[in-house]
Symmetry: C2
Subunit: 459 residues, 2 copies
């Protein structure tokens, strides 16, 4: 797909800063910039990246003093002629420059359109394009790392290798088909079977990595549950204090009284304190309970807190029942161990025979670090990916791979039943298609639109 | 002043975007970047701006794919070796890159430190450095334009010319002093007088431009006053609807229910709706009145609204008295002209003999455009500065120039009284010093700290 128009957008975040960058890409980039740029040196078509210092002007009015960086096709992000105008970092001034570029023939870029062009021009495949969006959104080291490995092409490289193997089988089987009457076998059925099983194993390995990959990319939604006054808020405060809550510094991050974001050893934890679950007739309180259940529903992990200084009561029992119904991973916390203990631990362990039970004092900050270690262990078995380790992080990828596995299983079944090559080839071709869809070899506009609309403008 | 260390900062605004730029300046820039950058081409010391594509690595771990732009001393913003690392535009990833640079020897830059170095290295004078900060903060075309003209050096150019004239007089008078005994006159007293008057006139011209310059740079604080129910809020809504309220889109801009920001033909209007002024004993209402008076106090213009469909009453009278006490420019508005009119216009005109009285219907949007025209006229006599027109925009500049004028007047007086050259020279030297302080030739650390601490980090 060839794009004929030239797009432009402010590529840096909105706000005040030292520098803003307005980016332009397309066949007219050079002719547009020549009309609006006055510098000491004339702008030249050259194969290397170039830097020019001068002014953006509108007719003869100076708009801003800028530095231009030129990336000539195909040696650019998009593969087209790209010009980055580095101007003074205010929102008004960068908008004015964008206005001037548009006035002289560029059009405002859609979200992700630069990356979309990079994809169309073969500068990156679809998983790499997705990794760009993930990298920008990354809030922790784990998120950065999985995105970088994907951007480096590790995931698509492996998939490419798998696809090559499958293509090889297909080709051989198709040659057999051409010689259909003669019943010649170009490849042993055992060899095909072996290769299909191996491929399926590799794909399954990716599927298995999804839970951990998702945690790396999106973090963990943890909810702190328990009846009122067991110390849920002090627990949250204790965690926030101990770990650096980096994400809350980012403008636009929602931060209300009951949600906090923690970076625990490179992983993002979104922690929600709840209103406490209890059976009630009061409509306002019922609304609180409804919300709590909604939060529980979307959480990845429940931190269930009990008051060690009191006996377990009907309310505790009710909450335990609800949480167990949800079938979420649970860490059981007995809080207030600095006070005289009344809780029936035996009963608690009977309720949670397989779960970890920790005893802490949120107020006195006793054993909070042990909780952090447990959180890490429970939530992130495996830790931050090591160099070159490839995890899949997106539901889209998981679904493509699951679909491919199903088709390979079908091919295996056809093979077992000694069915004609056609059936085997059909399913392997199908698997190739879905894997091709994953990396963008064969992909519909709908999927592309969905992926790129998720980007920010200017990328 | 020579800076020996190398500074680094994220120069783009915080948040998510396509691109973030981490900037580094100092003698070790090149050696630091060589340790953390892996690209196809080796980084070279060269006189021209250069672009490199590759990866920032921490030991062997890839951190991000980046584009480096190198500006070699003295051909850079700061005059030192400057490297701009253009990375993926997330906050986490840009922070990681900054961390890596710091780990290898850079130190985090203070606010405005890059520009401060540009100033120390003679790349710009102090008024130009101030213009950089103004440009970044600019929210309207008028603010952008006055900042750009100052950045181009128009203001400092004029001042430089004035200083040269004064230096010439001083030198001649000082030569006379050297020949003191011989009573030789190297320059006629008439000529000196003429030059001092001319200089003073030019300086006065700058002082006179301050009000307009301030309006261009900072905009106009307008307050809408009037007793309850005269239609203050509908008026504000009408204005907001008609003019694009660009500034409210900028993250971090405070926007509460009673303050709005308008861009009226290139000028910034901060409009505050008031709680209504009335004499009251109720403590809560008294607090509201106190705040209203505070807003009135810092406003540049009062839009005083009356209800045309009702008679003027004691409350109106009280507000008129308060507003007149403030001695602020006032535009008088008779609202609700779509209803049957009861107001005594004669009485109103007697209260405001010199003020413009406008009749509108905020609700029906009648004559709101006429109000906009009047606002422009009243507030911004002269309009947006034309090309090359120099206005002073900062109180610091105004105070320096006023001080210089005083000293020149003293020199003129000494001249009139035929006092010895020494006295004349002393005052002219004094004027040269304060003008030098304005452009940064002679300036204390306190003033510099004050100016640069007002910058954002990364500029």
């Amino acid at each position: 797909m060839k794009c004929n128009d030239t797009i432009a957008a402010i590529s840096t975040p909105p706000g005040e800063g030292g520098i803003a960058v307005v980016r332009m890409s397309g066949t007219s980039s050079l002719s547009i910039i020549r009309k609006v740029f006055r510098g000491k040196n004339p702008i030249q078509k050259n194969s290397k990246g170039q830097v020019y210092h001068g002014w953006i002007v509108e007719k003869d009015e100076p708009i801003d003093e800028v530095v231009l960086t030129l990336f000539h096709s195909p040696h650019s992000y998009t593969g087209e002629d790209v010009i980055e105008v580095s101007c003074h970092g205010g929102l008004f001034i960068s908008r004015r420059i964008l206005e001037v570029l548009i006035q002289y023939g560029a059009r405002p870029a859609e979200p992700g359109e630069f990356t979309q062009r990079a994809f169309f021009n073969g500068k990156m495949d679809l998983t790499q394009a997705e990794a760009v969006a993930d990298l920008i959104r990354a809030k922790t080291e784990s998120a950065r790392r999985v995105a970088i490995y994907e951007l480096e092409g590790h995931l698509s490289g492996r998939l490419q290798k798998i696809r090559e193997d499958l293509i090889k089988i297909c080709s051989l089987l198709e040659v057999e088909l051409d010689f259909g009457e003669e019943d010649i076998m170009f490849v042993s059925r055992k060899e095909i079977k072996h290769l299909l099983i191996k491929t399926r194993g590799e794909l399954q390995h990716f599927v298995d990595s999804y839970r951990r990959g998702k945690v790396c990319r999106e973090g963990i939604r943890m909810v702190i549950a328990g009846r009122p006054n067991v110390g849920k808020s002090s627990l949250l405060n204790g965690l926030v204090e101990r770990e650096r809550a980096i994400v809350t510094e980012i403008p636009g991050t929602t931060r209300d009284t009951v949600e906090d974001v923690l970076d625990i050893e490179g992983f993002l934890f979104t922690v929600t304190d709840t209103a406490g679950i209890r059976e009630t007739q009061d409509p306002i309180e019922r609304e609180g309970v409804r919300r709590t259940e909604k939060v529980l529903d979307i959480s990845d992990l429940v931190l269930l807190v009990f008051d060690g200084s009191e006996s377990l009561n009907r309310e505790d029992e009710m909450i335990v029942r609800r949480v167990k119904e949800m079938r979420k991973p649970v860490i059981v916390l007995i809080n207030k161990i600095d006070l005289k203990q009344q809780i029936n631990i035996h009963k608690l362990k009977k309720w949670f025979p397989d779960e970890e039970v920790l005893r802490i004092s949120a107020l006195k900050k006793e054993h909070v670090s042990r909780l952090v270690q447990t959180l890490k262990g429970t939530a992130i078995s495996g830790g931050i990916p090591h160099e070159g380790e490839v995890l899949i992080t997106r539901a889209r990828h998981k679904n493509c791979i699951l679909h491919a596995i199903e088709l390979i299983k079908k091919a295996e079944a056809s093979l077992r039943k000694s069915m004609s090559q056609e059936f085997i080839v059909m399913d392997i071709r199908g698997a190739l298609d879905v894997l091709g869809e994953m990396i963008g070899k064969t992909v519909t506009d709908d999927i592309l639109n969905q992926i790129f609309s998720d980007f920010c403008v200017g990328k």
